[in-house]
């Protein structure tokens, strides 16, 4: 058995996938992080304090997880959803009644969307109240503000897609608010809706924004955001805590 495992892990195929040994030594634990695309956003070493729940409450990680859940459930829903005013509502009914686990997929997508808005806001509160926006993290804070706005946009554009009374009037009310801006307001509203009221053009625009434009932008911005956390030195913690050293 041990021989078999050895011969597998020593094979050229295995070693082309995993370019390091079993991660039980310092060098291999470093290599896990630096040779893996998904791990490399993390630092090789993290401070003990950043692992404590009360430091971050894991909110940034949870927001990322919700984004992934939304992407996966969203792709499954896309196999059934038709973005036309004639068929959108029916396709949701079919998804809920005829598709195996269709209702569950939609439920998870819906609740994850609300949860993500909430978690992203809570994440921002944590960062603000711990003063983690200060140099050298100013840029990352600004990226975070845009990620919050995009999260709202992604949720809002998805809200229209079921094409029921709830979504129709919520988007009518919501886009009316955008229309109030002096001079550019009505033009902005027209651009968003592709017309003067919520109709087929609005549905297809919201759909394109919801399934493609905003998720792509968010994935890009989130990558920058997470990478920047590492580049800025991880968890903000100068001064204050007992294990910190008072260096001028």
């Amino acid at each position: 058995m041990a021989n078999l495992i050895d011969s597998i892990t020593a094979s050229r195929v295995w070693r082309s996938f995993f370019r390091h040994g079993w991660p039980d030594t310092e060098i291999n634990r470093s290599l896990v992080m630096t040779t893996n695309i998904f791990f490399h956003l993390h630092p090789v070493k993290v401070s003990r304090k950043s692992l404590r729940a009360s430091s971050t409450w894991g909110l940034g990680v949870i927001a990322t997880i919700l984004f992934i859940i939304l992407t996966l459930t969203g792709i499954l829903i896309m196999f059934y959803y038709v973005p036309s005013t004639e068929m959108a509502y029916d396709s949701i009914i079919i998804l809920q009644t005829k598709v195996l686990y269709g209702q569950l997929m939609r439920n998870m997508h819906r609740w994850a969307a609300h949860a993500m808005v909430l978690v992203v806001v809570l994440h921002m509160l944590r960062v603000f109240y711990t003063g983690a926006y200060k140099p050298p993290r100013e840029f990352n804070w600004v990226v975070g503000v845009f990620l919050l706005l995009m999260t709202l946009g992604a949720s809002f554009t998805g809200y229209l897609l079921p094409w029921d009374q709830l979504s129709f009037w919520a988007i009518t009310v919501g886009t009316n608010i955008a229309g109030y801006a002096p001079l550019i307001g009505p033009k902005m509203r027209f651009m968003l809706l592709g017309g003067f009221e919520v109709g087929q053009n609005a549905l297809i625009r919201f759909y394109a924004l919801h399934i493609m434009a905003l998720p792509l932008l968010m994935a890009g911005a989130a990558s920058v955001h997470i990478w920047r956390v590492r580049k800025d030195g991880g968890l903000a913690m100068q001064g204050g805590q007992e294990e910190l050293l008072d260096i001028e």
């Binding site: 070493k45 809920q96 804070w141 009374q165 919501g174 608010i177 050293l245």
Partner: protein, 253 residues
Amino acid sequence: MAVETKDTKAFPRGELKTYGLMELVRGTSPLVGKGPENTVFAFPIVAILEALLAIGTTLFLLLFSLLRDAPLEELANPDLTTNPAKAPWYFMALQELLLHMHPVLAGILVPGLVVLFLIALPYLDNDPADSGRWFASSRGRKIVIWTALYTLLVQAALIGFDEFMGLRGLGAASPAILQFVGPILFGVLLLGLPLLLLWRFKPNRREVMLLIFTVILVSAVVLTISGFLFRGPGMHLYPPWNMPDGYNPWSSL
């Protein structure tokens, strides 16, 4: 025995090592000013924690989704306005504001200023000395608690005042006063009073930011709850458990 100075505390002298200054270079790194780190290897602990969070979040969502279905009303009908017609909950603060002031104020100026403030924040308050500490100090914590209580009371009172009496009830009639001057005055008071009070304690920038941010945050929370939970048909205030026409605010989630 070496004298304990700040430097030796940060970088304890190894008794068996010798040290020499090799070169001086300009520049900083993320570890500048941090000293010897109290760190562990990220692998595997970070991967384990993230996996646990992923499993927990997914399980929670799955259970919640089994218990509660996403809402779906009748097919959209542009000729039949729902009453009330509400935006999604995260925009209800804006829609609530719209009930109290001119749309240019509520829909553009206030949210625009809030976003501008958020973007400008790290450039207005850029002293990293107290970053990483909740509320900066015990004084900061007090500022946040008192500001939150004050904003909660004043914001709720303002909503009630506008619903049941309003400037109109005080005799004001001109739209300019009702929609612009009045609301702006209330807004300036809401933020200005606690700032003025704080000023007497010679606050630093972080403390000023704590106050401003908390006023914005608690206002947004109160406005959202009021708009989402307490507004019923005709966008009037009702107790959420006793809405007319069988309207249930939670059904719009």
